[in-house]
C-alpha cells in the first residue's frame, strides 16, 4: 500500500488525505482549516480535489439563466383572464377617457329618454344636494359600505408597505376626484345621464380598490 501519491501513477489515501477529506467541507464553507490548503499543496490528488471543488462552486454560481418559451406567459395570461385576475382595461378606464369614447346613437338616445322621463322628475321633486345625487344614483347601502371600507382602510393602512400604501392612496384620491366631479356635474345638470353612469363606475372601482387593500391588510404578511 502506497502511502503518498505524489507524482506516482497509483495513490491510496494517507491519514493526511483522510484528514483533508474530513475538513474539506468546512473549509469550503469558509472555515479556518489551514491543514486543507497545506495538504492540497503537497498531495497532487487532494490538490486536484480542492481545485475541482472550487471550480465546480464558481462555475455553478456563474451558470446563466435560460429563457422560457413564450407559451409560458401565453398560458399564464390566459388563466389570469379566465380567473378574472386580469381585468379588462375597459373596466379600469378613467371616466374622462370613457366620456370621449364614441357612444352609439341609439344607446345615447335611450339614456336621454330615460333621464327625461324617469330621473328628472325625481331630482326636481326632491331638490337634491350633491351627496344625495350619489345616494340616488348608486344607492344608500353601496355608499355606506364603501364609506365603511374607506374608514377601515385608513385605520389599517399604517401597517402596509409604504410604496403599496401610496399607490392605493393615489388611486383612491383619483377615484374620489371622479366622484366629486360627477356630483358637481349632476348638481348643475341633474339630467346628465352619462355622469350617472360614471358615478356608478367610480364607486364600483373604488369598492374594488378598497377590497383589494383590505384583503392585503388581512393577509398573512407574505
Amino acid at each position: 500500500m502506497q502511502e503518498q501519491g505524489g507524482n506516482g501513477a497509483a495513490h491510496w489515501a494517507s491519514a493526511a488525505c483522510r484528514d483533508f477529506d474530513a475538513q474539506l467541507s468546512d473549509y469550503l464553507e469558509g472555515g479556518d482549516r489551514p491543514g486543507v490548503v497545506s495538504h492540497a499543496a503537497e498531495c497532487a490528488f487532494c490538490g486536484a480535489v480542492l481545485s475541482d471543488m472550487l471550480m465546480v462552486r464558481s462555475a455553478s454560481a456563474e451558470l446563466a439563466d435560460d429563457e422560457p418559451s413564450p407559451r409560458v406567459w401565453a398560458n399564464v395570461r390566459a388563466a389570469l383572464v379566465a380567473e378574472g385576475l386580469i381585468r379588462p382595461p375597459r373596466e379600469r378606464r378613467r371616466w374622462t377617457e370613457w366620456l370621449l369614447r364614441p357612444v352609439p346613437a341609439a344607446a345615447l338616445t335611450a339614456l336621454i329618454l330615460l333621464s327625461a322621463f324617469a330621473i328628472r322628475p325625481v331630482l326636481r321633486r326632491h331638490h337634491r344636494t350633491a351627496v344625495d345625487f350619489a345616494e340616488l344614483v348608486v344607492g344608500h347601502d353601496v355608499i355606506q359600505n364603501v364609506s365603511q371600507m374607506e374608514t377601515a382602510f385608513r385605520e389599517q393602512s399604517a401597517d402596509l408597505n409604504p410604496t403599496i400604501k401610496r399607490a392605493y392612496e393615489e388611486d383612491l384620491a383619483s377615484l374620489n376626484g371622479e366622484i366629486k366631479e360627477c356630483n358637481d356635474t349632476l348638481a348643475r345638470q341633474p339630467d346628465d345621464s352619462l355622469s350617472r353612469e360614471y358615478l356608478v363606475s367610480a364607486y364600483t372601482e373604488k369598492a374594488r380598490v378598497l377590497e383589494s387593500a383590505l384583503e392585503l391588510g388581512d393577509g398573512d404578511g407574505r
Binding site: 486536484a48 475541482d52 465546480v56 462552486r57 455553478s60 429563457e67 422560457p68 409560458v72 386580469i86
Partner: protein, 201 residues
C-alpha cells in the same frame, strides 16, 4: 388609471407592480413575469433537468404567485417569497413523481462514498474550464436531493439556513449534502469530460 402609462413602463420596483397587479392591471402582471421569468424558469429547469417539465412548473409557480399576490404585504423580499414558492412547486412535483432523496433527512446510504483516488495519470488532473452545457448536464445527472441542495446553494445562492427551511432538514444536513453533491458533480464532470472542456495539467 391613477398610475399613468409612462410611470408604468418605468416602474422598476416590485412593490409598485405588485400593488397594480393586485388591482387587476395586466401590464403589471406582464412586467412581474418579465422581471422574474428567467430565474424562475432556470430554477425549475435545473431542479428537473427537463425543459417541458420546467415550463409547466414555471407556469404553475407564476399562477400560484399571481393568485396569492393579494396577500403579499412586502415585509419579506418579493423575490425570496417567489423563489420559496417555486422551490415548493418543484419539490411537490418531484415528490409526486415518486422520486426519492428529495427529503435530505433520509439520505441514500449508497451516496456516502469517500472521495475517489483512482489509478492513472488522468485522475489527478484538474478540471479546467467547464462549459455551461457540460455543467448543466452534470447537474441534471445528480440524484434529486443532491441536485436540489446544490442548485439552491451554489447556483441560486441560498444560505444553508434558508435551504434547511425550504427542504425541511437541518442546517448540518444541508451542509453535508451540499458537500456530497459537489463531490458527486465533480465525479460526473470527470467521467463525461470532453476534450474541449478540459485540458491536462
Amino acid at each position: 388609471m391613477a398610475l399613468s402609462q409612462s410611470r408604468a413602463s418605468k416602474a422598476a420596483s416590485d412593490a409598485e407592480l405588485i400593488a397594480r397587479a393586485q388591482r387587476g392591471d395586466e401590464e403589471a402582471f406582464a412586467a412581474l413575469f418579465e422581471v422574474h421569468k428567467r430565474r424562475v424558469y432556470s430554477l425549475c429547469l435545473r431542479m428537473t433537468g427537463d425543459t417541458a417539465e420546467a415550463e409547466d412548473l414555471a407556469q404553475e409557480a407564476f399562477l400560484q404567485l399571481f393568485r396569492k399576490i393579494a396577500t403579499f404585504r412586502g415585509e419579506s423580499a418579493f423575490s425570496t417569497w417567489l423563489h420559496r414558492l417555486v422551490v415548493n412547486v418543484v419539490l411537490m412535483h418531484l415528490r409526486k413523481k415518486g422520486l426519492q432523496q428529495v427529503s435530505l433527512d433520509e439520505p441514500d446510504a449508497s451516496q456516502d462514498e469517500p472521495v475517489k483516488r483512482e489509478y492513472g495519470d488522468d485522475d489527478k488532473r484538474l478540471l479546467h474550464s467547464i462549459d455551461r452545457i457540460t455543467l448543466s448536464r452534470a447537474i441534471e445527472g445528480l440524484p434529486p436531493g443532491y441536485r436540489a441542495v446544490l442548485v439552491l446553494h451554489d447556483v441560486e445562492g441560498y444560505e444553508h439556513n434558508e435551504i434547511a427551511q425550504i427542504l425541511s432538514c437541518s442546517v448540518g444536513n444541508s451542509k453535508s449534502q451540499l458537500h456530497k453533491a459537489r463531490l458527486k458533480l465533480r465525479e460526473l464532470l470527470r467521467s463525461q469530460r470532453l476534450p474541449a472542456s478540459i485540458r491536462g495539467t
